[in-house]
């Protein structure tokens, strides 16, 4: 190759052009990495700063020294929070609410998605569109009428819906069910029609087709929907803020913000520790199931 370039005059310019092309590539690559590092700094600064602060004592936080460095690292903030009963109660509330929401949501949406995608009935196409529209209705539009409705239930039926953590289990599915149904319709629709016809000929009932064929085949979609569902219910902030007030009924995000921020006395070490612990469950799930997480994220727009 090199020989040819030396001996034949025609080969030389060609080689030079190739060289410049790969040099362009190399520069493009360097610039890409440069900007990626810049953006990574921008995107990761807050969580890293959270972590830095969580390792500091109150004295160090209020001292006039470099805030970006930990001089006397301590785990005291973690120990304080994790031994506080109230913090553990927040965690427990959050966990129970999230798990129940996920269970209820997946039961409702997988079964409904199967019926909408495969069995069809009068009005099922309209309902599928309706499901998508519901998904676009934000919680900021619904919390006031829901608040009033729950107060009414409270007054007339005597069921104490206000200021109870389990009320959130009723509320959160309004956020999760529409989206999960929507992406499950997408996943089910991508399963070839012949598969359920084969199952029909093999003698499977509709329920057996769902449990023995569709659920196993669409498992990646179900995992993605489950992750989405968990993340949404874990992160939800408006509903618990509006519907729960007693300290023992709060979930983690609201609990941290309302109990650790007292008037003007901000204990930033503990707040950051609490925030980090509150962010941990979704982050851990994300770390282990990133591909499913991303599949669920893109499914809404690319599948339907």
């Amino acid at each position: 190759m090199a020989d040819a370039a030396v001996t034949s005059p025609a080969g030389a310019p060609t080689r030079a052009r190739y060289g410049s092309m790969s040099r362009d590539r190399r520069w493009a690559l360097r610039w890409s990495y440069f900007f990626l590092i810049l953006f990574a700094i921008f995107f990761l600064t807050p969580p890293i700063y959270m972590f830095i602060t969580s390792l500091k004592t109150s004295q160090e936080i209020s001292a006039e020294i470099n805030p970006w460095w930990v001089f006397n690292p301590t785990l005291n903030n973690y120990i304080t929070l994790l031994t506080q009963n109230i913090f553990l109660k927040f965690f427990l509330n959050s966990a129970i609410v999230a798990v129940c929401t996920v269970t209820i949501t997946m039961c409702i949406s997988v079964i409904a998605a199967f019926s909408l995608a495969r069995m069809k009935f009068w009005g099922s196409a309209t309902l599928a569109t309706g499901v998508f529209l519901t998904y676009l209705v934000p919680e900021t539009l619904l919390f006031i009428p829901l608040f009033k409705m729950f107060a009414w239930v409270n007054e007339t039926l005597g069921i104490q819906l206000m200021n109870n953590w389990w009320t959130l289990i009723i509320l959160y599915p309004t956020l999760t069910v529409p989206f999960c149904t929507w992406i499950m319709i997408g996943y089910f629709a991508s399963i070839p029609k012949e598969l359920d016809e084969a199952a029909l000929i093999d003698g499977a009932t509709w329920i057996q087709t769902l449990t023995k064929i569709f659920i196993p085949v669409a498992l990646p979609g179900i995992i993605a929907a489950t992750i989405f569902c968990f993340t949404v219910s874990w992160a939800q902030f408006l509903y618990p803020l509006a519907f729960t007030t007693s300290t023992s009924e709060l979930v983690l995000p609201v609990g941290i913000i309302t109990t650790l921020i007292k008037g003007d006395v901000f204990n930033w070490g503990q707040i950051m520790t609490g925030a980090l612990l509150g962010a941990a469950p979704p982050l851990i799930i994300y770390a282990f199931l990133m591909d499913y997480y991303i599949a669920g994220l893109t499914a809404g727009a690319t599948k339907g």
Partner: protein, 309 residues
Amino acid sequence: MADITVRSASIGSPDSRSSLHKLMQRKSTIAFLMALPLILLITVLVAYPAGYAVYLAMLNKSMTKFVWFKNFDFLFTRDTFWMVVYQSCLFAITAVIFKALIGFIVAHFVHNIPSKGQRKWRGMLLVPWVIPPAMSTLAWLWLFDPSYSAFNWLLQPFGLGPIPWLGETGWARFSVILVNVWVGAPFFMIMYLAALKSVPEQLYEAAAIDGATWWQRIWYVTLPMMRNIIAITALFSTIVTFANFDIVRVLTKGDPLNTTHLFGTWAFRLGIESNDIPLGSAVSLFMVPILAVAAVFILRDITKRGSEV
């Protein structure tokens, strides 16, 4: 021979035809029953409250009298209301534009690097989207702290600052938008990256052979191919940004002087905290027109996508 047996058997057929009819009916009945929990949930907890909000917005403060559009008339006379309208639009438009821009640029850079490193970078860059927004906004609140701001400490050596990140209207608006962009840009990045990967490599090769520069390749190949997904993502993000609550609530609570309120946070302030449910309801209803327009366009694009495939 076959004829005879068929004929004898088909005597019973009118009867059995009705049984098939029953069977088909049973199938759609089962299907309906399977979708029933979903239908109930949507009607009782989404559709009904949405309609109820309209009714609530037309009651007087103590909710004893139906006052038609008095609440809206009242809102139109308040400066705060117009401020919220202005801020909501400014917030949503600016944030969506920057999210889309940053998302597109970052997606391009990630797409550029060798594919074995892409997973790692993608994973790292999506972190802001994964953290519950209320929690990450706390970190921003601390970074913007008036006395201990870590940003101001960095700016100090350059003779800049201290910047009143959350104390002055202009800076406070900038800050809430910045945080929203920080949370939302990774989502755009992921969507665009997925779209970039779906553009066939041959198109770029064909464009390169036709002598297109990298800029022309983006303009004539990438953007047209991604147009639909860009539209869907942007419209979807417009809805979410417009209806945002967490960030403003944690960062400024609408301060200074209600200048950073969005419809959602102001409705919460009025409806829940000041106990004026009808007025809060009226405020939140102002989100509907924009949501409706965006929803119509999204639906159109999604059905278009569906028919393309």
